[in-house]
């Protein structure tokens, strides 16, 4: 009946039991049964944590709040309205004003350029170097030919 969301890194997308284990972050609240009595953290019944599909649809902006009906669904709506008021603070966050200046100061002085692999780079040689290379190869060939004739 329990699911450790943190251990699986969320890579498994198949629907499973939806109750996470308490983690070391320690923000786990205590849970109540339908009659209000306290339960141990590890005994959370699935029906208490399963968010109704309509609530997900409302949170995803697919339906208006007025389409969400039922006492249980409205409890979820109220919960998410409270969370949303705190999320709004996060939405208003801005990068520090001097961050751009600090990044610009830390940039390398050189202009960025495309670094292509050596086999894809154009070969540049001046005519003098070409002539010298040709003369060298000719001399090497002559020497090799002479040694083979002996």
């Amino acid at each position: 009946m329990h699911d450790d969301l943190t251990a699986r890194e969320g890579h498994d997308e198949t629907p499973r039991s939806r109750v996470p284990e308490p983690t070391k972050a320690g923000a786990v609240g205590r849970h109540r049964t339908t009659d209000g009595s306290r339960m141990a953290d590890r005994e959370v019944p699935i029906e208490l944590t399963r968010t109704p599909d309509l609530v997900h649809a409302w949170l995803d902006g697919e339906i208006p709040e007025s389409s969400v009906r039922g006492e249980e669904a409205m409890r979820h709506v109220e919960f998410w309205k409270r969370v949303d008021s705190d999320l709004e603070v996060k939405r208003q966050m801005h990068a520090p004003a001097d961050l751009t200046d600090r990044i610009m100061a830390a940039l390398p002085e050189t202009t960025p350029s495309l670094v292509s692999p050596w086999w894809n780079r154009p070969i540049e040689m001046n005519p003098l170097a070409v002539a010298a290379a040709a003369a060298g190869l000719l001399a090497l060939g002559t020497a090799l030919g002479a040694s083979l004739k002996r």
Binding site: T6, R8, G10, F79, V83, V89, M93, I103, M104, P112
Partner: protein
């Protein structure tokens, strides 16, 4: 990839800035930083929970983006987002490896300003701790949806996954957060 007219204009404007930077106008890179730093900062902050770490990740990411600017093909914002997102994931991996505790050094105490009352500061601290308790992929999906306000299609585009998979992650993140925060927000 669906590109609206506004996005197309933005992509073109970014490309013009990139061309100028590559032509030697280094200072124009600040325009790109200014244009995207707020959204990227919110992502890094949501993922790491630490303003200092978020700033460091942004700084390293923009330096990396500058060094590889000539390799940008298509949208600069999507490209730099991926650099930042990977930076956040790398940081989270390192944190796990070094066994640092989320509820001590790496968690901000909340983003309270003097005019906010103590009660709400405490609630935000709980929200931050609950977010930190989520698996990185769930946290990433939740932050992109509920803090950055992105559509599922945009998220799928940026993360290279499907809308269905992201919906599942966001839904699971919500339900996990609700378990973690139920009593505080009740």
């Amino acid at each position: 990839m669906t590109v609206t007219a506004v996005q197309a204009d933005q992509v073109e404007a970014d490309q013009q800035i990139i061309a100028k930077v590559l032509a030697g106008h280094r200072e124009d890179f600040s325009l790109l930083i200014g244009r995207y730093s707020d959204a990227l900062y919110r992502h890094a902050l949501g993922m790491t929970g630490s303003p200092d770490v978020a700033e460091d990740i942004l700084q390293m990411s923009f330096i990396k983006a500058y060094q590889h600017l000539a390799e940008v093909r298509g949208r600069f914002d999507a490209w730099v987002f991926r650099i930042v997102a990977n930076g956040c994931k790398d940081w989270l991996k390192n944190i796990r490896r070094t066994h640092l505790s989320y509820d001590e050094d790496d968690q901000p105490s909340g983003y309270a300003t003097p005019e906010e009352d103590l009660d709400r500061t405490e609630l935000r601290g709980d929200l931050d701790r609950a977010l930190a308790a989520l698996a990185p992929s769930l946290r990433e999906a939740f932050v992109m949806k509920h803090v950055e306000g992105r559509s599922y299609e945009e998220m799928a585009d940026l993360l290279g996954t499907t809308v269905g998979a992201l919906k599942m992650r966001v839904h699971r993140a919500r339900e996990a957060l609700q378990v973690l925060l139920e009593e505080k927000y009740a």
